[in-house]
Structure formats: structure tokens, C-alpha cells
């Protein structure tokens, strides 16, 4: 592949020999998000070892997840899967009493064809706890796609929403809220009145797991445009899953939720709002504008708000302008991040990405292309299923100012004088909405700021001569 920068977006597909986290890692953030859940990963020691090392300290905080570790007897079907899972689930019920148990299927359960989907409903009625099955395995998916499989499975469990009854429900709900707060000082009532002033629009459900503070920030942004978010998938508790149905509009906040989107559209008859993702001020504005336009609402003050955010980022923008970036690709946030960084004035050579759903990410891709055109920046290569070996060869030639990469390559690249930022941090940091744009740049600029200080010391390259060519 040539390193020439082209004028339209180019898509390529390599060998898929790249480093990423196993999708079962979604357990790490989802068990914290859904407070009354228990995640049971049905797999081997390999899966367990990965989780234990990837999650580090969290394991010691009595996590609400565990391995159902398959032993030789399970593999050779000497033991009865159903009885074994029942035994473990009863144990979990006794010790933790969760509102839902989520079974995470792994490579092993795929290969031995363990019928988790078949067993779950039977066991569910037997033990009286809902069991959701998500096949988040490394045979089919990468890293964040794990969340996608869990949310897609959960979409089936959301209560049905029938709009005519819903209107009635809503008035009742409003009444109860007023009753509740009648003892509070008058300002409370003003707030309730204000919320009543919100324009009437069909219910909107947002999909994607976010820390609750970020979720309320995004809800607040929409509220400013008179849009009420009627629910989140997932909610803070399993018992609070949003109701779905015909006439409900859904919108994703993360680029890796394509299965969830498909399930919401096809199985729950929801209408999908295809928008860029609210990452960076440009993305957030485009996301809100798209939602507003679907509901026929005119936005107000959005442009000023975006402008104001960009101004507040000025010190960071000065640092990144003109610098080049190389995304090795491992968490599917790459397109949105690249688009934001290009808008910040950076040059993106290559966007590696594990999997690209061109339909689900369509609006994001258009925004990427427009951003490049508006800023007269060369279009980046988009490389699906990248090959890390080839990428490192390309990087050697391009010498980017920053490589966004997994932890397996970060230290070796740093030793070769290439600044790196671990891609995993973007998954765990708060990066959505106007408020958090600064946090993204804080991450991106950290290696640049750190290495600015070290540059003059004269030891950028820290490897022995004979190892230089080794990849």
C-alpha cells in the first residue's frame, strides 16, 4: 500500500492480524453501569486471565462478575451444561441476588456449540431471574463490540411502549412528580413548568453505556433544545430499561453500536436517527442538529455554544495544529476521533479500524469528508481489519507525530521515538458532549506535552542497534 494521501476517502481491508482487547472486556464497564446486574462469563482460564489482568484493581472490589470456568468435563460433554449453569446461577442468586444475570458467551461456547440461548429461558423460569445472553467472543468481534452484543440482547428485554396509552401515562407521571415536590420551595415548581414547556416530540431513547454524569450532560444539552430524553439503553438499573416500540426514535452515542441499532430498528420497530456521534464540539453539535431536524425543531444558540467550546480549547489547539496522527485501530471510536482531531487542525494519515459499518456510521463518514474538504486537509486512509506488522512499517516511513495504539505496541514505539497514546483510554475516559471535548484533547496532547520537555535531553531513541528493525 502506498503512503500517498488521496483526495477522497479510501477504504482498504488488510489481514486482520491486529491487537485488540477481547470483547468480553465490556463486562468491565457494563457491570459498573448496570448496578443490579451480574455478568457471568462462560469460558476458560484464558478468558479469566484476560479479565483479571485487563481490569487490574477492580477485581478486588467484589465485582459483580465471575467466570463460569469450563473444565475438561464440560468440553467433552461429560457434565451437563444445563445442570452446571443452574448450580452456578443459584449460587449467584444466593450470594448477590441480582435483578438480571447476563451470560457472556465466549469462543469456547461457540466452538462446542453450547446452546446458551436455548438454556436461558428455561433456567430463567426455573430460578426466577431474567437471563440475558450475549455472545461477545473473539471469533466474531473486537473490544467495544462486546457492549454492542450485550445491548442488542438487552433491547429485546425493554418493555413495549404503546404510544396512545403513553400519553395518558405521562400525565399521571407529571402529577405524581408535582405531588412529590409540592413541599419544596417554589423554584421547584418553576422547574417543572419549564419542563412542561419542552416541545412535544415523539419519545427519544439514546443507546450506549456512558457514566451517569456524562449521560446527564448529554440529556441536558438536548433539554436546552427542548428535547426530552425518555430513556437510555442501558439504564442505571436493569429494572429501569426504557420502553421501546413503534414510533420511538432511537439514536446511538457510540460508533460501535451497529448491532444494537439494527435490533432496535428491525425487532423493536424503532426509528433510527443516523447522526454523527457526540464526540468533540463539532460532533456534538452535528448530533444535536440531526436530532432536532428529525423532530422539526429549530436549534438555538448551538453555533455560539460550539464556538465558545472551541475558544476554550485554544491552548490545546495551538499544541496539536499541524501535527500528524496515525490510528492503529482497535476500538471503533477511530473515525469519530479522527474527524474531531482533523477539525482541531491535525493531519490524519491512517485510520485503522477493526470493523466499519458504513451504514451505521454513514453520517459520521460524511462529516469526516466534509471536515477534510472544509479545512483543505488530505483525506485519511481508512483501513479495516488492519495488519499491525504492515502498519508499523508504514509508520516507520511516515514518522507520525502521534500514534494512537494499543498497549502492546505503545512502549516499543515510544522506545523508537514515536509518541503514543493508548487507545484504551479513550474507551474509559469521558469523551462525549461539549463539556468533555477538553478531556479528549487532554489525552491526545499528553504525550506531546510530556515529550516536549524530554526532547532536548537527546535520548529519543532508546533501543539497541540490532533490535531496530525488529517488529
Amino acid at each position: 500500500m502506498s503512503n500517498k494521501i488521496s483526495e477522497t476517502l479510501t477504504f482498504e481491508c488488510e489481514t486482520g492480524n491486529y491487537h485488540t482487547f477481547c470483547p468480553i472486556s465490556c463486562v468491565a464497564w457494563l457491570y459498573q453501569k448496570i448496578e443490579d446486574s451480574f455478568f457471568l462469563v462462560v469460558g476458560t482460564k484464558t478468558c479469566g486471565y484476560f479479565l483479571q489482568n485487563a481490569l487490574g484493581v477492580m477485581i478486588f472490589a467484589e465485582p459483580r462478575y465471575a467466570m463460569a470456568e469450563l473444565e475438561e468435563g464440560d468440553i467433552s460433554a461429560q457434565l451437563n451444561d444445563y445442570e452446571e449453569l443452574k448450580r452456578l446461577c443459584l449460587q449467584i442468586k444466593k450470594n448477590r441476588n441480582p435483578s438480571v444475570i447476563i451470560w457472556i458467551g465466549t469462543c469456547t461456547t461457540e466452538i462446542i456449540k453450547m446452546d446458551l440461548e436455548g438454556m436461558a429461558p428455561k433456567l430463567e423460569t426455573e430460578i426466577g431471574i431474567p437471563i440475558v445472553v450475549a455472545r461477545a467472543n473473539g471469533l466474531d468481534y473486537a473490544f467495544t463490540q462486546g457492549e454492542d452484543t450485550v445491548l442488542a440482547a438487552m433491547a429485546h428485554r425493554c418493555p413495549e411502549r404503546i404510544l396512545s396509552i403513553d400519553r395518558k401515562d405521562k400525565t399521571i407521571q407529571d402529577q405524581t412528580i408535582q405531588d412529590l415536590f409540592s413541599f419544596l420551595p417554589p423554584k421547584k415548581k418553576e422547574e417543572i413548568l419549564e419542563s412542561k414547556k419542552l416541545k412535544k416530540h415523539p419519545p427519544l431513547v439514546l443507546s450506549g453505556s456512558l457514566p451517569s454524569t456524562v449521560a446527564s450532560q448529554l440529556s441536558l444539552e438536548l433539554k436546552r433544545q427542548s428535547i426530552q430524553v425518555s430513556g437510555w439503553l442501558p439504564a442505571q438499573r436493569y429494572t429501569d430499561l426504557p420502553s421501546l416500540g413503534e414510533g420511538v426514535y432511537v439514536c446511538g452515542i457510540n460508533p460501535f453500536l451497529s448491532r444494537t441499532a439494527t435490533t432496535l430498528m428491525r425487532r423493536r420497530k424503532c426509528k433510527l436517527i443516523g447522526a454523527p456521534f457526540p464526540i468533540g464540539p463539532d460532533g456534538t453539535r452535528a448530533w444535536i442538529e440531526k436530532i432536532c431536524s428529525v423532530f422539526g425543531i429549530e436549534t438555538h444558540g448551538l453555533e455560539e455554544r460550539e464556538q465558545q467550546m472551541w475558544e476554550s480549547l485554544k491552548d490545546y489547539l495551538d499544541l496539536v495544529r499541524g501535527k500528524s496522527v496515525f490510528f492503529m485501530g482497535d476500538n471503533l471510536l477511530e473515525i469519530s476521533l479522527a474527524r474531531f482531531l482533523i477539525r482541531c487542525g491535525m493531519i490524519v494519515y491512517e485510520i485503522g479500524i477493526p470493523y466499519l459499518d458504513k451504514r451505521y456510521q454513514a453520517a459520521e463518514l460524511v462529516l469526516l469528508q466534509n471536515t477534510c474538504e472544509n479545512l483543505c486537509t488530505p483525506m485519511p486512509h481508512i483501513v479495516e481489519k488492519p495488519d499491525n506488522y504492515n502498519q508499523i512499517q508504514r509508520m516507520r516511513e511516515l514518522q507520525p507525530d502521534l500514534a494512537i495504539t494499543g498497549m502492546a505496541h505503545a512502549n516499543p514505539l515510544e522506545a523508537r521515538g514515536i509518541n503514543t497514546k493508548w487507545s484504551v483510554e479513550f474507551t474509559f475516559a469521558q469523551i462525549h458532549g461539549f463539556t468533555n471535548a477538553r478531556d479528549v484533547l487532554e489525552l491526545v496532547t499528553r504525550p506531546l506535552r510530556r515529550n516536549n520537555g524530554l526532547e532536548n535531553l537527546g535520548w529519543t531513541n532508546l533501543i539497541k542497534k540490532e533490535n531496530e528493525s525488529k517488529v
Binding site: Y49, D74, I75, C107, I111, L139, T213, Y389, A408, A410
Partner: protein, 510 residues
């Protein structure tokens, strides 16, 4: 099926990868699904490795599931052969390939025809052995492969070196303080006027393995990895080996005496006497013997401790605590279930109880029941200690990044005894200090929320904003609260809502 939250020893392939990537110019190819190359992250992060970890995956995906790997594995081997010209490529099976039951040996045979590198299939079964057993086995397999090869080609050199020399077997990547231990062992052998023939696998070259038999004896510092190789070399070449771990003053002396015995047996002209060296080191170079005698250590007499870790470290530390420091080891244990007999024999008489388990909750319950003054264990025991407010010294894998120190911290040899003495003493004094603080009411630890001393405030937080504030993690909540109130005061706002909170965040971070 087993409900498991945590494990002491990793899966088998990790052991194989640790051995393979410790050798110079050896590449491992895992037959595994996407995401199983987690080993690379561990090596790169924990060992802070500068070079790319020589491990790649031949990815098992849906297509492989449907049709078998076919050419894929062979192609990946020959590709790696061309790209990096390794001396050896080790095809590593994982739990996934164990069940797929593809004929990996066949792939290896085919690939070795076309590639310049040697190619072998690691002989480990995921469901039968753990990380440590697999590492032991893989090391033996590699050594055997190259000695057999040399034997066939007639390049095997069986004559021993003129001067006494030794191989150190079992130093490898991600081992607990292995690098430091290796340096200490080299120093020890140098002091004894013994040449180092080879250190394997860490930094060793497979091309040199044919020279292993030139050494006078093998030194196997750790019980877990290297013993199989040493036994093989003994059987095949009559090479004696020493498997006494030189940890602690008594065992280090014991190890040196065994070395003396073997060296003198092979050396008819000159008789070595290491006793003066042992005496000098014990009494004046190492501080540990003197420490045991000092009044500091007197205060530790009869204090209760619990030890848990791998067989080598748990056994050695138990002996040091009981024999060299007079500490009462209430319970000692190991997760090396496969080596339980040896362990029991070692700690016989040094501990009240013995616990053999790989279930960390059993260890936790035992610690809670005994309530020792200090724990010596792995990272897991450190966390158990945190929860129970008992200090813990980390003496064994599994460990976090802080147990890969940059400074010189061996556990073996005479410098190791100093390090261990520090570790033990610091664990206990911290515990005693803590205890005294509790008795006398502790430090003045009143929570400081605002920077001003006056508590009256003219600001009101509405219900939602209070809820929102409570969602913010405790350790930054105070700061967020202060900042928000500062922002509100500056802008003449008296009523704090969620909007105000986030406006404050934006304003202050700008």
C-alpha cells in the same frame, strides 16, 4: 464448571509464551482468536519492554471454525520467517485450539520444509497444565530439541570447560524479580570463581543450547521452572544440578555447600573451600544475620504471620521467618497444587498449618480467621490485607507493575537476604505503628471539605444537583463542590443547579 473470580496461575499458553519470548530471536505464533494476544500487553506494560513482543497470532475466526485453518497457520509461519528471520518459531496452542483438535503438528511439519527457521509445536495441553507447568515443559522441549539436533549433526560438545562453570536455568520474562535475582546469582558464582556457561531462557540464544553440557553443573533457582530441563540434562549427560533455592542465609549457605561438593568432585587437582566465604558473607556482608540478632528483630519474636505464594517463594520465606527471625508462621501455603508434596516436606516444622489451594477466597478466610500481624503473599493477599487492615509484603507472583522495580531488588543470594529483611521489618513496624495510632486515637484526620474555616454558606444546592454531586467519585467530590461554589459566587448565583455545575466545569477547565 467452576465459579471463579480470580486465579493465581494463568493458562498454559502464557507459560509457553514467557519461555519463547525470553530467548533471543525466537518467535511464538499463537493459534488463537482475536484478543488472545493479551500476553503482549502484559510483557510490554509490566516488564516495560522496549522491543515488540515476539508473539503474533494466527487468528482463529468464523472461517477457521467452518473450514479449518488450512493454509493460514503455515502461511503465518512462513511469513514471520521471511519478515524477521527468527532462529526458532514456536507454534503455541491455546484453549481454543485444544478443542478444535486441528493437526497442528502437521502444519509445523509443512512449514518447516519451506522456512529457514526451526519450527516446533509447543507440547502443552490447556486443560491439564497451568502457566508454570507449561513454562517448565516448554523450556525442556526447546532444550531437548536443540540437543537432539546437535547430536544428529555431530556438533554436540560434551567435554566440560577447563575451569568450573555453571548454567543458570529458569530465569525468564515476567518472573518475580527474576532479572535482579539473575544478577545476584552471577555475582555469587563469580565470587566463588565459577564461570557462567549459559543463562536460559532469558537473553539466551537457541543456537548456543548445544553448549549447555559444557558446564560442570546446573543451578535451578526456582522450583517451578527449569527443573524438568535440569533432570533431562542429568539423565542425558550426567550433569548434576542444584535445586536448593539460595534464598535466606541458611539456604544460601546450603546451596553454596552443594556447589562446593559438585565442583570438588569434578576437580581432582584443586580443592575449593567455600566455608570462609560463607562465614564472611553471613556475618559481615549480609546484614540479615546481624539483623536477626539486633533488638529490632527481638520485637518481632513470636509475632504471627501468614505466608502464601508459589512453592519456591512461600517455602523459602516461611523458613526465613521461622528459622532466621523467630517469627511464628501460623499458616503457610501455596497455589502450586501440583507440587504440594515437596512443599509440605519443605515447611514441615516451620508452620502450624499448611494450606494448599488455588482458591483465593479460602486464603482470605484463613487470613481473617488467624488475624496475623503481617501477611507475606501475592498481590491478592495484599488486597486481602488492605481490607482487613493487616500489612502485607509481596513475595511472589502474581504481581502488579510495582513489583517490577527499576532499582536493584533481588530475593536471592546475600543481597537478597538484606532485601527480605527490609521487607519483613517494614511490614511489621508499619503494622505496629498503625496499632499504636489506634490506641492513642489516631492522627488528626478531620475531613477537610472547604478551604476556608468558616462553614456558613449562602449557597443552596437544589435536589438534582445534590444527587449529581453524589454521583461524582468521592475523591474529587470536594473539589468539584468547591469549584462550583466558587464559580457561583463569582457569577452572583445563589441557587446551584446541574446547569450551574457543568457551566462551572467548563469555565474552570477553560
Amino acid at each position: 464448571m467452576k465459579l471463579a473470580y480470580w486465579m493465581y496461575a494463568g493458562p498454559a499458553h502464557i507459560g509457553t509464551l514467557r519461555v519463547a519470548s525470553s530467548f533471543k530471536n525466537v518467535h511464538a505464533i499463537m493459534h488463537a482468536p482475536l484478543g488472545d494476544d493479551y500476553f503482549n500487553v502484559m510483557r510490554s506494560m509490566l516488564e516495560r519492554e522496549r522491543d515488540f513482543t515476539p508473539v503474533t497470532a494466527s487468528i482463529v475466526d468464523r472461517h477457521v471454525l467452518a473450514r479449518g485453518s488450512q493454509e493460514k497457520v503455515v502461511d503465518n509461519i512462513t511469513r514471520k520467517d521471511k519478515e524477521e528471520c527468527p532462529d526458532l518459531i514456536v507454534l503455541t496452542p491455546t484453549c481454543t485450539s485444544s478443542i478444535l483438535q486441528e493437526d497442528l503438528q502437521n502444519f509445523v511439519d509443512r512449514a518447516s520444509i519451506t522456512s529457514n527457521s526451526d519450527v516446533i509445536l509447543a507440547d502443552v495441553n490447556h486443560y491439564r497444565v497451568n502457566e508454570l507447568q507449561a513454562a517448565d515443559r516448554t523450556l525442556e522441549q526447546v532444550v531437548r530439541y536443540y540437543l537432539d539436533k546437535a547430536n544428529r549433526q555431530g556438533t554436540l560438545n560434551k567435554s566440560i570447560t577447563d575451569k568450573p562453570s555453571a548454567n543458570i536455568i529458569g530465569i525468564f520474562t515476567l518472573g518475580f524479580h527474576n532479572q535482579h535475582d539473575c544478577r545476584e546469582l552471577k555475582r555469587l558464582l563469580q565470587d566463588l570463581d565459577i564461570k557462567i556457561n549459559q543463562v536460559i531462557p532469558e537473553g539466551g540464544s537457541v543456537k548456543n543450547l548445544k553448549n549447555l553440557p559444557k558446564a560442570w553443573f546446573n543451578l535451578v533457582p526456582y522450583r517451578e521452572v527449569g527443573l524438568m530441563t535440569a533432570i533431562y540434562l542429568e539423565k542425558q549427560f550426567g550433569m548434576p544440578y542444584i535445586s536448593t533455592t539460595p534464598m535466606g542465609i541458611v539456604d544460601t549457605a546450603e546451596c553454596i555447600r552443594q556447589i562446593e561438593k559438585h565442583v570438588n568432585k569434578l576437580n581432582p587437582n584443586k580443592t575449593f573451600n567455600y566455608e570462609p566465604y560463607i562465614d564472611q558473607q553471613t556475618r559481615f556482608v549480609s546484614q540479615a544475620a546481624w539483623f536477626s540478632r539486633s533488638i529490632d528483630c527481638q520485637n518481632l519474636t513470636g509475632k504471627k504471620a501468614v505466608v502464601f505464594g508459589d512453592a519456591t517463594h512461600a517455602a523459602s520465606i516461611t523458613k526465613i521467618l521461622a528459622r532466621e527471625m523467630g517469627i511464628c508462621v501460623s499458616c503457610t501455603g501455596t497455589y502450586c497444587i501440583h507440587d504440594a508434596e515437596w512443599f509440605k516436606e519443605q515447611v514441615q516444622g516451620f508452620s502450624d498449618e499448611i494450606l494448599i489451594t488455588d482458591n483465593h477466597t479460602e486464603v482470605g478466610d484463613m487470613i481473617a480467621r488467624i488475624e496475623p500481624s503481617a501477611i507475606f503473599g501475592t498481590q491478592m493477599e495484599r488486597h486481602i490485607g488492605k481490607r482487613l487492615d493487616i500489612p502485607c509484603g509481596v513475595i511472589s507472583s502474581p504481581v502488579h507493575i510495582q513489583n517490577f522495580p527499576l532499582g536493584y531488588r533481588p530475593f536471592l543470594g546475600y543481597e537478597g537476604t538484606n532485601q527480605i529483611a527490609d521487607l519483613v521489618y517494614n511490614s511489621f513496624t508499619l503494622g505496629m505503628e498503625d496499632h499504636l495510632l489506634e490506641i492513642f486515637g489516631g492522627h488528626d484526620t478531620k475531613e477537610v471539605i472547604t478551604k476556608s474555616l468558616s462553614t456558613d454558606t449562602d449557597l443552596t444546592w437544589n435536589y438534582e444537583s445534590q444527587l449529581e454531586l453524589n454521583k461524582i467519585p468521592g475523591f474529587v467530590r470536594g473539589k468539584i463542590k468547591r469549584n462550583t461554589e466558587k464559580f457561583a459566587r463569582q457569577n452572583g448565583i445563589t441557587n446551584i443547579t446541574i446547569e450551574v455545575m457543568y457551566a462551572a466545569k467548563e469555565a474552570l477547565s477553560a
